[in-house]
Amino acid sequence: MPPPTRGFLGRRQRDPRLPPGQYDVGTDWPVLTAEPTPRIAPETWSVTVDGRVEAPTTWTWDEAHRLPRSEYRGDIHCVTTWSKFGTWFAGVSVDTLLEAARPTAEAQFVMATSKTGYTTNLPLADVTGGKAWLVWEFDGKPLPIEHGGPVRLLVPHLYFWKSAKWISKLTLMARDQPGFWEQNGYHDRGDPWRQQRYQGD
């Protein structure tokens, strides 16, 4: 444990839902991006699953909406230390997409790519088994563009930079490769409960 900071007592209320080093942002939802917000019409959006798969597949907006609907209700955590409790997202489970594309035996990792070129890498095990979604609804309304609409990746058990906004591609990989923030000093996995914020954590 680090030595206490002179004069600092910290918040009195310690919410057990907060991972270490996080605070409750309340009803706010900060927007953090490293690039200008793109303008993407739902009619032109599509997502492709490719790489180490037997059947590379692309879904349009309408095709994705015909897949079985799946929801996430729970908390999200940003590496910049805010957490937001009780969110409600809806879209499709990544499991559903992978069932169609059929990852090969070598597939161990995923690179998520945004329309903007933003990338983030994840172990395949972190996006399978009901742990990851492509979402287009927040609180029952269309996902706002600044929050990644029309469609973003959602991997709520990891820091939120892993939940790539404006998702356009999931590429299955045999070997791990660093994505955008992972090349810029941030952790490869990003588990908030282990405070995996930066490389070396």
């Binding site: 004069g7 927007v31 690039e35 810029n184």
Partner: protein, 235 residues
């Protein structure tokens, strides 16, 4: 990528505390065993309570890498857990736990032309870039536009004006310029092909400035954005 984040937490001794403008504090830190930052990078400051509870936040560095001290400029947020402590409690001689420098994206390479567009305390990373450029004798590489509510609330106002920055004030006139927000037209004379554009500010400011640049024909891939603070709207 140059980052010392993986070297973990270290101790910094507070060498100076100044409050050049209201609701903000400027800290000069002697970071033990320091690794030089790149202009635009940030540090994390972590506070620890006697029971082990911790709170940490990121703050951009204002100093140039050649400065023997690391200068952080912290805007005091009324409901801020860390900024209120730094602004109200920290004194010269205190020790703080810090980690950094962090960030490999929002940095200036010190050789390329750059357009810097900031709102409010978003000027801080640009002050580091400006001081670095001055030390190199290359202030010609930087074009700067900054926006604040009033001149009194603009951090590093004198330094930015001396560097020829366009200063836009939203709540009062600035010389012959009436009060008003930054516009795309403001950026036209500052933009040159080959520049990388850096935008830093609140979410609303960064969104607007980023869109102005795109409208002017700047390749979105040449625009780097750093946003901070609340979303500015309902969740």
């Amino acid at each position: 990528m140059v980052t010392a984040a993986n070297r973990g937490w270290r101790t910094a001794t507070v060498s100076g505390v100044r409050r050049p403008i209201a609701r903000a504090v400027q800290l000069r830190l002697d970071v033990h065993d320091r690794v030089d930052h790149l202009p635009g990078q940030h540090y994390v400051v972590r506070l620890t309570a006697p029971d082990g509870y911790t709170a940490q936040r990121s703050y951009s560095v204002a100093s140039a890498p050649g400065d023997p001290l690391v200068e952080l400029f912290v805007e005091r947020l009324d409901d801020g857990e860390v900024s209120t402590h730094l602004a109200d409690v920290v004194e010269r001689g205190d020790e703080l736990e810090v980690r950094g420098p962090i960030g490999g994206w929002f940095v200036w390479d010190q050789v390329s032309p750059a357009l810097l567009v900031a709102g409010g305390s978003g000027v801080v990373p640009f002050v580091s870039m400006l001081r670095t450029a001055r030390a190199l004798g290359r202030t010609d590489l930087l074009r700067i536009a900054v926006s604040a509510r009033t001149r009194e609330e603009l951090p590093y106002a004198d330094e930015l004006e001396e560097a020829g920055a366009l200063v836009v004030l939203t709540r009062e006139a600035n010389g012959i310029r009436p009060a008003g927000r930054l516009t795309a037209a403001d950026l036209v004379p500052l933009w040159e092909p080959g520049q990388t554009a850096y935008v830093c500010g609140s979410s609303g400011f960064a969104e607007a400035a980023g869109q102005f640049l795109v409208e002017l024909g700047v390749d979105p891939a040449a625009i780097r954005v750093e946003r901070f603070g609340p979303s500015g709207g309902p969740a």
